[in-house]
C-alpha cells in the first residue's frame, strides 16, 4: 500500500506539471510568433511604421499605422479620465456607505455587467450616439470604451479601498477628521499603489478593445485626425480589418501592429509591476 501511494503521488505531480506546461505553452508560442512575425515587419518598415499611412491593397511598400496610433491615443486619453473619475467616486461611495441601497445596487450592477459582451456596447453606442451625431467619431468610440471599462475600474478601486485596514479609519475618526479628509488624506494615499495599478490596468484594457469600436469609431485611415468629433481608427480595429483580408501586404501590417500592441501592453504591465513591487501595507 505504501508504494501505491508513492506512485499516485508521483503520477499526480507529473500530471500537474504536464497540464500546467500545456496551459502556459500557447501563450509563450503566441508571444514568440507575434514578435517574430511583427518585429520583422516593423524593422523592414523602419520609423515610417509609426508616421506613415496604411498601404493600399495593391501597393508594394509597407507604409505605416500612424492614424491608428493617433486614434488609440486620443480615445484612450478621452475615456480614461471619465472612467477613473466615475469608478473612483463610486468606489468611495460603496466603501463609505456599504449598507446604503444605492451602494448595493452599484455593487450588484458593476459585478453583473463585467461580463457584458462588448459588441452589445458597440451596438448601443451606435444607436444612441453615432446616428444622432450623423457620423462616426472618436468621441463615440471613447464613450463605448468608457462603458466597457467602468465595471473594471470600479472593481479595482473598490478592492483597493477595501484593502485598507479599518484601524486607520478608526484612528482618523479618533482625531476628528472629516469624512472627506479621511478619504483623501488617509485611504487614497495608503491605497495609492493599488489605485495606480487600477488605472493602468484600465488603460491596458481600453487600449486593446476591438468589438467596442467596430460600429463607433469609423475606420478613418486616410490621415491622422486629431479632432475628437471626427472619425478615427484604432490599432485593434486595424488589426481586425487587415487580418480578415486576403492581401499579403495588409497581413504583414497587421502582424506589425499586433507586435506594437503587445509591446505597448507589456510596457503598461511592467509599469504596474514596478509600482506594486513595493512593500504592501
Amino acid at each position: 500500500m505504501y508504494s501505491w501511494r508513492k506512485l499516485r503521488e508521483k503520477l499526480f505531480t507529473g500530471l500537474v506539471i504536464a497540464l500546467s506546461l500545456l496551459a502556459i505553452a500557447p501563450v509563450l508560442h503566441l508571444i514568440a510568433t507575434v514578435f517574430v512575425n511583427g518585429l520583422t515587419v516593423i524593422a523592414e518598415a523602419g520609423l515610417g511604421f509609426f508616421t506613415g499611412l496604411p498601404p493600399t491593397p495593391l501597393s508594394r511598400e509597407l507604409g505605416g499605422i500612424a492614424p491608428s496610433i493617433a486614434g488609440t491615443l486620443i480615445m484612450t486619453a478621452l475615456s480614461l479620465p471619465s472612467t477613473v473619475l466615475l469608478g473612483l467616486f463610486a468606489a468611495i461611495l460603496t466603501t463609505e456607505f456599504p449598507k446604503n441601497p444605492l451602494s448595493v445596487a452599484i455593487d450588484a450592477v458593476a459585478k453583473s455587467l463585467a461580463s457584458i459582451p462588448t459588441i452589445a456596447v458597440s451596438m448601443i453606442v451606435y444607436t444612441l450616439v453615432v446616428i444622432p451625431m450623423r457620423g462616426f467619431s472618436a468621441l463615440a468610440g471613447a464613450i463605448a470604451l468608457t462603458i466597457i471599462a467602468l465595471p473594471y475600474a470600479y472593481t479595482y478601486f473598490s478592492t483597493a479601498l477595501r484593502s485598507v485596514p479599518s484601524i486607520y479609519r478608526e484612528a482618523a475618526f479618533a482625531v476628528a477628521m472629516s469624512r472627506w479628509s479621511t478619504v483623501t488624506r488617509v485611504f487614497i494615499p495608503i491605497a495609492r499603489r493599488s489605485a495606480v495599478v487600477g488605472v493602468l490596468m484600465t488603460m491596458a484594457r481600453v487600449m486593446g478593445e476591438t468589438a467596442a469600436l467596430l460600429f463607433t469609431a469609423g475606420r478613418f485611415r486616410a490621415s491622422v485626425a486629431l479632432s475628437p468629433t471626427a472619425p478615427a481608427d484604432s490599432i485593434p480595429l486595424l488589426i481586425f480589418d487587415y487580418i480578415l483580408s486576403p492581401y499579403t501586404i495588409w497581413h504583414r501590417v497587421a502582424w506589425g501592429a499586433t507586435a506594437l500592441l503587445l509591446i505597448a501592453y507589456m510596457a503598461v504591465f511592467i509599469a504596474t509591476k514596478l509600482v506594486v513591487k513595493e512593500v504592501k501595507l
Binding site: 500612424a66 486619453a77 479620465p81 450623423r134 495606480v196 486629431l226 479632432s227 492581401y247
Partner: protein
C-alpha cells in the same frame, strides 16, 4: 508626505525630481502625457471641429495647377462606405485624387448593404453599392438621391482544387453552380461536372465541395444570385436572389461564410476543394484559379477585356442620375453575345442631391468630374471602364449636386 518636506527645504524642482523614487517619476510622466493629450482634445472640442487634420498639408505634395476652389477645399475629408467589390479601385483613385487636390476620401469596405444603410442614416457622405437601389427604395427617395454606375466588374467563380494544374480551366455552367450551392452536387467528380469538362474529367477528385459564400449583406451576392436565377433554368429560384440569402448548402454543413470579398478570397485560398464567388480583381491579385462559365450563347468564357466589353454593350443605362436604375442589372447579366461574359455587374455610387456642408458638396462635385476626366485612365486590373454614356452621367450628377 516626504516630498512636501523636500519642498520646505526649498530645493529646486530638478533636485526634487532627482530625489524621488524612479517608479514615481515614471508614473508621473505617463500621467502628464495623458493629461496633455486630454486637454488638447478638450480644447479642440471647444474651438470647433472645423479644424482640418494637421498632417494633410505635410502628406500631400502641393498640386502644380490649383484653381482657387481646390485651395479652399484642401483638407476636406469625404466619408464613404459600401461595397467591397469596388474597394481596390477606389483606394487607387483616392490616392491619386489626394495627390492632386489634397482632398481625402475615407472608405469603409463593409459591404453594399451596410453601405446603403449607413448612407441613408447620413452617417457617411456617399455610399457604394453593386446593385442599384431597388425600385421600392428609389421610389421612397425619388428626386433626392443620385446614382451613377461608375464601374463595371465581373464576378468570377474561383476554385481551389490542388489536383488540377494551373493552366487547365474548369468549366462550369449555371446549373452546376446552382446545384453546388443548393447542396445537391456533393463531390467534385460528380457526373454532371465531368460531362462539362471532358478533358480534365479524370483529374477531378472524389472530395466534397466546400461552398464559400458571403456572410454579410453583399451586392456581389446579388449579382451572382441574379445570374444563377436567370441562367439555371429553374434550378435556382427567385426567392434565393438578393444581397443576403439563406444558402441551402449551409444546411448540409458544407458551407463557410466569409466577410466581404476579402473573407471569401481568404477562405478559398486556405480551404482545399472549395469554390467561391468574388470580384475579379481579388482573384487576380491573389492568384486564384478562375472557372469558365457558360454564357447565353452556349460558349464557355473566362473574363477578359473582350468578353467583358461585349457583355457591356447590352447595358441599359438610364440617361439621368435621378432616374431609376433598377433594371440595369438584369440587362447586363447573362446577356446576349457570342463571347460575352455572363456575370458582369455594375457598381454604383450613391449620393444625395443636397448636402448641408457646402465644402463637402464642392469636394464631391470635384471628385466626380475628376473620375470622369482622369480617373478612367487609371483603371486597376480587374475592372472595366464603363461606356461613354456613364462619363456624361458623372458630369450630370456633378452638376446636380447642390448645397444649401
Amino acid at each position: 508626505m516626504y516630498w512636501k518636506d523636500l519642498y520646505k527645504l526649498r530645493l529646486s524642482l530638478v533636485t526634487q525630481v532627482m530625489y524621488m523614487r524612479k517608479n514615481t517619476v515614471v508614473v508621473m510622466l505617463i500621467t502628464v502625457a495623458i493629461v496633455i493629450i486630454a486637454t488638447y482634445s478638450i480644447l479642440q472640442i471647444y474651438y470647433g471641429g472645423s479644424k482640418e487634420p494637421l498632417t494633410s498639408a505635410t502628406q500631400t505634395p502641393t498640386p502644380t495647377t490649383t484653381t482657387s476652389i481646390s485651395i479652399q477645399l484642401q483638407g476636406v475629408v469625404l466619408q464613404g462606405a459600401g461595397a467591397t467589390f469596388v474597394y481596390p479601385q477606389l483606394s487607387e483613385w483616392a490616392k491619386k485624387f489626394q495627390e492632386r487636390y489634397g482632398i481625402q476620401i475615407n472608405y469603409q469596405s463593409v459591404g453594399s448593404g451596410a453601405g446603403q444603410s449607413m448612407f441613408f442614416q447620413k452617417v457617411v457622405d456617399f455610399g457604394c453599392s453593386d446593385p442599384p437601389l431597388s425600385r421600392d427604395t428609389w421610389l421612397k427617395y425619388n428626386g433626392s438621391v443620385l446614382q451613377v454606375p461608375w464601374l463595371f466588374g465581373p464576378v468570377v467563380v474561383v476554385y481551389n482544387i490542388p489536383e488540377i494544374p494551373k493552366d487547365a480551366v474548369l468549366r462550369l455552367d449555371a446549373i452546376a453552380i446552382a446545384k453546388i450551392y443548393k447542396g445537391e452536387i456533393r463531390y467534385w467528380n460528380n457526373e454532371y461536372i465531368k460531362s462539362l469538362n471532358p478533358d480534365i474529367a479524370h483529374l477531378l477528385p472524389n472530395k466534397e465541395i466546400v461552398a464559400v459564400y458571403r456572410s454579410d449583406s453583399s451586392g456581389t451576392t446579388e449579382l451572382f444570385t441574379t445570374f444563377l436565377y436567370k441562367a439555371s433554368n429553374g434550378v435556382w429560384t427567385k426567392d434565393l436572389v438578393g444581397k443576403s440569402v439563406s444558402w441551402p448548402v449551409e444546411a448540409t454543413g458544407r458551407g463557410i461564410g466569409g466577410k466581404g470579398n476579402e473573407g471569401v478570397t481568404q477562405n478559398v485560398m486556405q480551404i482545399p476543394y472549395s469554390i467561391g464567388y468574388v470580384e475579379w480583381s481579388y482573384a487576380i491579385k491573389n492568384n486564384l484559379s478562375i472557372a469558365a462559365i457558360k454564357n447565353a450563347a452556349g460558349n464557355f468564357v473566362i473574363p477578359t477585356r473582350e468578353t467583358l466589353e461585349e457583355a457591356l454593350k447590352n447595358a441599359r443605362i438610364p440617361t439621368s442620375p435621378i432616374d431609376d436604375f433598377s433594371g440595369i442589372v438584369d440587362s447586363v447579366i447573362y446577356a446576349t453575345g457570342e463571347k460575352s461574359y455572363p456575370i458582369l455587374g455594375p457598381t454604383h455610387i450613391i449620393l444625395w442631391r443636397r448636402y448641408d456642408d457646402s465644402k463637402k458638396a464642392e469636394a464631391l462635385k470635384l471628385f466626380l468630374k475628376w473620375v470622369a476626366e482622369e480617373g478612367y485612365n487609371h483603371i486597376v486590373e480587374g475592372y472595366v471602364a464603363p461606356p461613354q454614356s456613364v462619363k456624361e452621367l458623372l458630369i450630370k450628377a456633378a452638376n446636380e449636386i447642390m448645397s444649401q
